[in-house]
């Protein structure tokens, strides 16, 4: 048995029975990372020495009877979640040397639960992208085919889970950045409800859309991670004071009584690959066989979602990224001896091209004379999208769709065409605009052997229903059991 291949819940069972130690598990994952990292390029920072120390203390805790579902479990963390004394770069030149003096709340929670942080993983710079090609450090490769992108922006998280270079990961999702790479890498990924998981210590991209969430090898692991990271945090003013249910208590007796909405607009999407469409239709059959009732629904404002999203996300980004001025932390161009020149040169050398493009779009949309036409209008359209979902959830419990319109594309294929790249988030970004939860589960493989994902979305704080459907679907299929050959 290769320990690095274990799921979180299987590893936990073995740790609890003392059949393995956390040290053995963590060492196995570290060896795996060093064996395949050259091919996958998932990690920015590998923290093996600290991980081994933490594994040893986890073993001590276990032997004295203190074990949580995450004690001694090695996890990777997207490199925009602050980890105390562990470099956090956002895959950007401007934060290349940044060592956070504090932990994000999710990291504090993972550490309290005894989890072992094994390293920080790659992403599109400041989470802006859908392919991890915008990383200022290196592109990550899809473990299923190294010539293909892993998706993004949490591409390092998805690839590290798919390639067994960790047992689970935390990413962030502003327009699909957890769900889309999960789909492309054949793993499970959840964007929780806005306000469900604290964002204290998450480097901000678009504050009204950003959410931290887990990526994992199966649905149960995803629920276990959600149990630990969810809940109110007084350090995050958008965190919602609402009790956290036990997400891992998933009923496994089928889907009777659940109504699933299938939005007709999604099938009419230009650029939807017939293979993806077929995989989702097959998934619908599996779900119906388990007793769920499927109904056609309509989200008529879907056609405006990408445009509204890019105005809102870029506007918020231009404001959030104004803080990188070379004064208090991060990169500074020290050759400039005039303040304004220092600002400009620092930001121009520190940020990558896509980040600059979005700052410029956002600044333009917020500038005098354009605010009403762009940001104001997009915020109104956002209301229409929210109302679409509210109406649909009157007649169904959850909505299903493809996670992405195609399976992964080749590295370099869309890099010079930002608009086409933006359109690849068409199915996922509505959930961010509406603040609702969404999960991606593997639902098939394309003819060239690349994974595809099924997205399930639900009402605010209805993650339990997503887990129910995702788990029952997963148990009736075997896509999650397949592993890439590396």
């Amino acid at each position: 048995m290769k320990l690095y291949e274990l799921t979180i819940h299987k590893a936990h069972d073995l740790l609890k029975k003392r059949e393995i130690s956390s040290l053995e598990l963590v060492q196995s994952v570290i060896d795996r990372i060093y064996a395949v990292e050259k091919k996958v390029d998932a990690y920015i920072t590998i923290a093996s020495d600290a991980a081994i120390l933490h594994a040893k203390s986890a073993d001590k805790a276990i032997s004295s009877g203190n074990i949580t579902p995450l004690t001694g479990i090695p996890l990777s963390i997207k490199d925009l979640i602050c980890t105390k004394n562990l470099r956090t770069t956002c895959a950007s030149g401007i934060l290349d040397n940044f060592v956070p003096p504090y932990n994000a709340t999710v990291i504090t929670k993972l550490k309290q639960a005894g989890a072992v942080i094994i390293g920080k993983v790659n992403m599109d710079e400041f989470a802006m992208g859908s392919s991890t090609e915008n990383s200022g450090i290196k592109p990550t490769r899809n473990p299923w085919n190294l010539e293909y992108i892993p998706g993004g922006s949490s591409g390092g998280s998805a690839a590290s889970v798919a390639a067994d270079m960790c047992l689970g990961s935390l990413g962030s999702d502003t327009g699909g950045s957890i769900r889309q790479p999960a789909s492309h890498c054949g793993v499970v990924g959840m964007k929780p409800t806005y306000g469900r998981v604290s964002r204290f210590g998450l480097v901000a991209f678009a504050s009204s859309l950003d959410q931290i969430g887990p990526l994992s090898k199966d649905v149960l692991d995803c629920a276990i991670l959600m149990n630990i990271i969810s809940g109110f945090d007084k350090k995050d003013s958008t965190s919602v004071p609402k009790a956290v249910p036990d997400y891992s208590a998933i009923p496994s007796e089928g889907l009777k009584g659940i109504t699933v909405g299938i939005p007709k607009e999604f099938n009419e999407t230009k650029g939807l690959d017939p293979e993806v469409s077929e995989a989702v239709n097959n998934a619908i059959k599996v779900i119906e066989d388990q007793g769920a009732k499927c109904v056609d629904v309509s989200l008529p404002h879907t056609k405006y979602a990408v445009a509204a999203y890019y105005v809102i996300a870029s506007s918020e980004a231009s404001s959030n990224l104004a803080r990188y001025d070379g004064v208090k932390y991060g990169f500074r161009d020290k050759d400039k001896n005039n303040l304004m020149e220092m600002y400009k040169s620092t930001r121009s050398k520190g940020f990558g091209f896509e980040v600059k493009r979005r700052i410029l779009i956002g600044t333009y949309c917020l500038s005098a004379g354009y605010y009403d036409a762009y940001y104001g209008k997009a915020s109104q359209v956002r209301t229409l999208i929210v109302e679409d979902f509210n109406k649909v959830f009157d007649v169904c419990d959850v909505i299903i769709s493809p996670t992405a319109p195609t399976s992964a594309f080749k590295i370099g294929e869309k890099i010079d065409d930002p608009l086409t790249m933006y359109l690849s988030d068409i199915f996922t970004l509505s959930a961010n605009l509406a603040g609702i939860p969404g999960i991606s589960v593997p639902c098939g493989f394309s003819s060239n052997g690349l994974p595809m994902g099924l997205q399930i979305m639900g009402k605010h704080f209805d993650e339990e229903k997503l887990f129910n459907l995702a788990y029952n679907f997963e148990q009736a299929t075997d896509f999650h059991k397949k592993k890439p050959k590396l």
Binding site: Y194, Y329, L339, L360, S367
Partner: protein, 96 residues
């Protein structure tokens, strides 16, 4: 509705970015395409529609204005400073 190079320069200045000739050219084209696509929003009927700035309804999260924990200036607050002196951040001269 292509955005001109002058407009890109103007917006870049607002955003405290400097661009070379080649990137300005490329960006004015790409941003133009994106703005053209965004124009689809003008087809949406938003008369009487209130804007949404946050998807979850939350009222202000107030707290008492009291000291919580003290951070050490040298080892925490100034630890990442590109340039510092005693307990201050150092920046280039502001007033000529």
């Amino acid at each position: 509705m292509k955005i001109t190079k002058d407009e890109v320069f103007y917006v870049a200045d607002l955003a405290r970015l400097e661009l070379d000739e080649a990137s300005t050219e490329k960006l004015s084209e790409q941003i133009g395409d994106i703005l053209e696509y965004i124009d689809i929003l003008s087809h949406a009927d938003t008369r009487e529609v209130k804007p949404t700035s946050h998807a979850i309804f939350l009222t202000n999260a107030f707290r008492e204005d009291s000291e919580t924990e003290e951070s050490d200036v040298d080892t925490v607050l100034l630890a990442n400073a590109p340039e510092k002196e005693e307990t201050h951040f150092v920046v280039p001269k502001i007033i000529e």
